[in-house]
Structure formats: C-alpha cells, structure tokens
C-alpha cells in the first residue's frame, strides 16, 4: 500500500530496501576487513545493541532505569566468577549471569515498580550505586577495586572465540537474536499491552491489564539481556572492575537509546551504530565529545523525540510505531 499508489519511483520501499542492504553489508563487512580496529568497533557495536536492546524493552513500558549499568555489571561479574572460580563452561556462565541479573531485577522491580516513574528512576540510580559499593567492598569475591583480570576467551564446544573476528561472529548472532526477540515481542499481545501501559497506564489498568506485572516483566527481561551483554563484554575485554559499570555506563546506554529511538525496534541498532564509533571522530577531545552528546540528547528530545529511527521510519513509509 505504501507509496505504491504513485506511478514511477516508489521512494519509500526503495528506502527500505536500501536500508536493509546497508545493514547486511555492515554486518558482513567485518569479516572481510584487515584492519583489526574496525572489527573491534563492530564487536562493541553489537554488544551495545544487546545492552541498549535490553533497556529499550523497559523503556517501552514507560519507565526509565538509571541502573542499567549495574545489571550489565552483575551479569559480567557472575559470569566471570562462575567461569574462573567455578570452572563453568562459558555458555553456562553467561546464562547464569543473565539469569542472576534478571532475578535481582525481578526482586528490585517487584518492590519499586509501584512507585511513580520519577521515584523509580531515582531508586534505580541509588541501587546502581549500592551495587557498585558491594562490588568494591566484597573484594574476596569480586577483587574489589582492582577487579578481575585475565578473563579467558569465550569458548563454545571447544571452539574458542579468541580472535576479534571470531568474537564478532558470536556478538553479531547475539545482537541479531536480541533484535529478533524485540521484533517478535512488539507484535505479540503482550507487546500491545506494553504499548497500552506506556501510553495510558490508568486506562490499561482499567482494561484488565496489570501495569505492575507488565513493567516488572519488561524490567526483568531487559535487565537479563543487559546481564547477557555484560557477560559477553567481560569475556571480550578480558577484564572487569566496579568502575566499568558505574552510572556513566547507564547514561551512555540512555543516550544511545534516546538518540537511536525509543519507540522503534531499530532504535537499539541505530543508536549504537552511530554513537559507538563517535569517539574516533573526536580524536581524544573527550570534553567536546561529551558536550556533543549532551547537546544531541537535548536536541533529539526536543525536535525528534522518536529518535533517528523515527526519521528512518518516516522515510520508508512505516506509519506504525514499530
């Protein structure tokens, strides 16, 4: 229907085809480049897609978490401790990390999700601080301020993801799975319920939907996904410390999500895609870079609240919010 009524050039579906083509090329490219740095960037982008995707799920219910970094960290630490101390295989450790993060989110969320949105954000901020303090203090388990070094590479069935290129394959598959999950989720009845809760929680509640339960589910799954991202990140970087997962990380995730787009399934792709390589552009002018982030955030919120993804959606004729 879209755009096909005009004779001649169908701009909208052409845009869509080009976008998909670009995506496929971008995904495949790191397998063919020789410069390791680009592969490294690609890995980071994929891991960010996972992490931002987790936050996107929570954001869809109308809540915002300033503690996302803490759940990334919980997943990372649990996975690493399980692998290095407990000698668990990588995949079990990563799953354990994700599940632990989800469990903590479930408990915390059950307590605090009945708070008004604003209180919820404040408490996630405070909770993230608490987690950081625990990571610092419990040095017997976590290595304290020094963190844990020498994390072995991820291995699956004997195959070691010890080169950047190999890990990129793992990261890409994980990112694609998360996006596919989001895509499917949005279309389920629960996905529609989530949109209802975000747009008019009182009406949703009056229609038989439990706002609390839906937000809790999104918070739990989204934080679990963050934990998974953290586990992967830990095995890639080879090192974790409490400062890696502080509020700065939570804010960075929010920036990627808001600029990418909170409403669309492509937001968690576009945000990391554009923002992860950005430090390169600024060539070490860190302050200018952060000022740019702050300004971009405000401008997007003001003029393009749906993020860059909404721009893309408009150009490709997608009138639905997905």
């Amino acid at each position: 229907m879209q755009g096909a009524t005009r004779q001649g050039y169908d701009f909208e579906s052409a845009t869509r085809r080009i976008a998909y083509l670009v995506l496929v090329v971008l995904c495949a490219a790191p397998f063919f480049v020789t410069n390791e740095f680009y592969v490294h960037l690609a890995v980071l982008i994929c891991l960010n897609v996972v992490i931002v995707g987790g936050l996107a799920l929570l954001c869809r219910t109308g809540q915002l978490s300033l503690g996302h970094g803490a759940f990334i960290g919980l997943g990372a630490y649990v996975a690493v401790i399980a692998t290095m101390r407990g000698h668990w295989p990588f995949w079990l450790g990563a799953a354990g990390g994700a599940l632990f993060a989800a469990l903590v989110a479930a408990i915390l969320g059950w307590v605090i999700l009945r708070l008004r949105g604003v209180y919820f954000v404040l408490v996630t901020f405070a909770f993230a601080e608490l987690v950081r303090l625990v990571m610092l203090s419990w040095s017997g388990l976590t290595g304290g301020a020094n963190g844990i070094v020498g994390i072995p590479s991820a291995t699956l069935l004997g195959f070691a993801f010890d080169t950047k290129m190999r890990f990129y394959g793992l990261a890409l598959v994980t990112a694609a799975t998360v996006i596919a999950f989001l895509y499917a989720f949005i279309r389920t009845p629960t996905g529609h319920a989530v949109d209802a809760v975000a747009e008019n929680p009182a009406l949703a509640e009056a229609s038989g939907l439990s706002v609390h339960r839906i937000q809790l589910m999104a918070f739990t799954i989204g934080s679990g996904i963050a934990g998974l991202g953290g586990a992967l990140l830990a095995h890639y970087v080879g090192f974790v410390s409490p400062e890696s997962f502080n509020t700065g990380l939570s804010i960075a995730v929010i920036i990627m999500l808001v600029i990418g787009g909170r409403q669309s399934v492509w937001g968690p792709v576009i945000g990391p895609l554009i923002l992860t390589p950005l430090p390169e552009l600024f060539r070490g002018a860190v302050q200018t870079q952060h000022i740019f982030y702050g300004a971009a955030l405000i401008l997007i919120l003001r003029f393009l609240p749906g993020g860059l993804a909404s721009l893309l959606m408009r150009m490709s004729g997608d009138r639905a919010s997905h």
Binding site: L64, V118, Y119, V123, A126, L133, L136, A295, A296
Partner: protein, 289 residues
C-alpha cells in the same frame, strides 16, 4: 576519647553534613515541585557555585560571604536563562525533562572541565582554628559553614512563608492548577523556581568550597545525597527534606564512626529500599500518596 564524646562528635558532624544535604535537597525538591522535573544537573550547579566562590575569593580577593551572595545571584540568573532556553519544552514532561537535564549535566560538567581542567583546586579556609563544645572539637570553618547554612535556610523560610512571591511559589509547588486560578503567572514561576532551586545548590557548593577541594567532579556526590534525601522525604516536600537530610547526615556520621564508611553506605541504601516498601511517599507522606 570516651564513647559519649565520640557519639557527640559524630552527631554534631552529622548535623553539619545534614545541613549541607538539606541545602542541596531543598533546591532539588523545589525544582521538582515547580516543574515536575528531576534535575540531574543539580550537582553541576553545586560545582559551579564552588568555582564562582573560588574565583571571587582567590582571583578577585572578595570577602567570602559577599562571594557567596554573588554566587547565589549569578546562579539564579543563570538558572533562569537555562530553564527558559533549554528546559521550557519539557515543563511537566517528567521523563523527557529528566533526560534533558542529564544532557544539561554533561554539557555543564564538560564545559567546566574545558575551562578549569580536572585537577582539584583548594581554597584558603575562611577561618582558622577550632571551637570547643564541651569535650568536642569542631574546626571553626565547619562551624561557620553551619552558621551560614542555617542563615540561608532561615532566609528561605522567611521568603517562602512571609513574602508575596514566596507564598506564590509555594502555591505553585503545591498545586499548579489552583495557583493559576488564583492569578499567579505560572509561566514566570518556572524559570524563577528553577533559578532559586539551583541557586541553593550553588550556595551549598560555595559554602563547601573552603572545606573540600574544588573540581569539575564534585557535583556527583551531593547529587546522590539529594536523591536519597528526596526519596526519603518525599519529592516536593520541604518538611520531608528537612527531616530526611538531618537523618541522613547523622546516620552517615554515626555509621562511619562506628563502622567502615563503605558498610555505612550500604546500610543506608538498604534502609532506603526498605523505606520505599513501607512508605513509598516518603517519611512524612500522607496515606493518600
């Protein structure tokens, strides 16, 4: 030092710290009450206040108290402009307004980093020596900070209670619709309320500048404390902020005297979460919250 003196010392230190927290929290809760925005940049105004006073005292050789007044005036003006230029679209848009203030905080902190560099600077202390209260010893500088803080809070109280503008501001905080009906120009009160709120944060930063170092990074700690205070005391409640900040200051002080400071912090957070289960609206919440 015997136990009583130790406790006494901790209590006094706690009250001092609590007063600073109160200054931060009152401004924070005022901004929320007026605009329904959680101001993430609040800590950066604290930081800027410290820098202004540093500059006034060390570069312009102005007296300390006068510099604090200048800081307040500049902060109110700056806050007014910022609200009007940047935050206006987000009035009453709680979620997006909050995210916008995150952006604002990043801009302010990094501008400060570019202008002043990351190294901490130290200001000469306002007064030297110590004050003896019974068997307790308090550095005079802290004592003066307490005196100034109490002075500022009293001025604020008088302003809110007895001046026409102050009463109007309180009315806006309590219920903006009713306030509009009473003819109060709500649109003027947004930048004004924001200005006063961040002005208080700047004053807190200015008062603390001689006690601790001044750097672009000093805003984060007070911001967190302001969060805790308003969670405990209830967002938008000034009496709640009073109770909660003093409680927090004392708990921190007693906690770090008798336990390690890390443990004290963890306990505070745990208490916070328990509080939220029991009384989600804050310590002084009405049951209908």
């Amino acid at each position: 030092m015997d136990l009583n003196a130790l406790i006494g010392q901790a209590v006094v230190n706690g009250l001092i710290v609590g007063l600073l927290y109160l200054l931060m929290a009152v401004g924070f809760t005022l901004v929320f009450g007026v605009m329904r925005v959680v101001n993430f940049a609040h800590g950066e105004f604290y930081m800027l206040g410290a820098f202004v006073v540093y500059y006034c005292v060390t570069q312009l050789n102005l007296p300390f108290l006068f510099s604090v007044v200048i800081t307040f005036v500049l902060a109110v003006a700056f806050g007014w402009i910022v609200e009007w230029l940047i935050l206006k679209p987000f009035r009453h848009d709680e979620l997006n307004g909050m995210i916008a203030t995150i952006g604002l905080a990043m801009i302010l902190q990094n501008l400060a980093l570019m202008a002043f560099g990351p190294s901490p600077l130290s200001m000469p202390s306002v007064v030297q020596g110590v004050v003896h209260l019974g068997s307790m010893v308090i550095p005079s500088s802290r004592f003066y900070v307490v005196a100034f803080s109490i002075g500022v809070l009293l001025l604020l109280y008088v302003f809110l209670r007895y001046t026409r503008i102050g009463r109007a501001l309180r009315a806006v905080v309590q219920d903006i619709e009713i306030a509009s009906v009473q003819g109060i120009r709500a649109s003027l009160f947004y930048p004004f309320g924001f200005g006063i709120g961040v002005g208080l944060a700047a004053v807190a930063g200015a008062l603390m500048a001689p006690l601790f170092s001044v750097s672009p990074f000093i805003g984060a700690g007070p911001l967190l404390k302001a969060f805790i205070v308003v969670i405990l005391g209830g967002l938008g409640s000034i009496p709640g902020a009073v109770l909660a900040s003093l409680l927090l200051g004392m708990t921190e002080s007693l906690g770090s005297t008798f336990l390690s400071s890390g443990t004290a912090d963890i306990l505070i957070f745990a208490f916070l979460i328990i509080m939220l289960v029991v009384r989600p609206g804050g310590l002084l919440a009405r049951p209908e919250q």
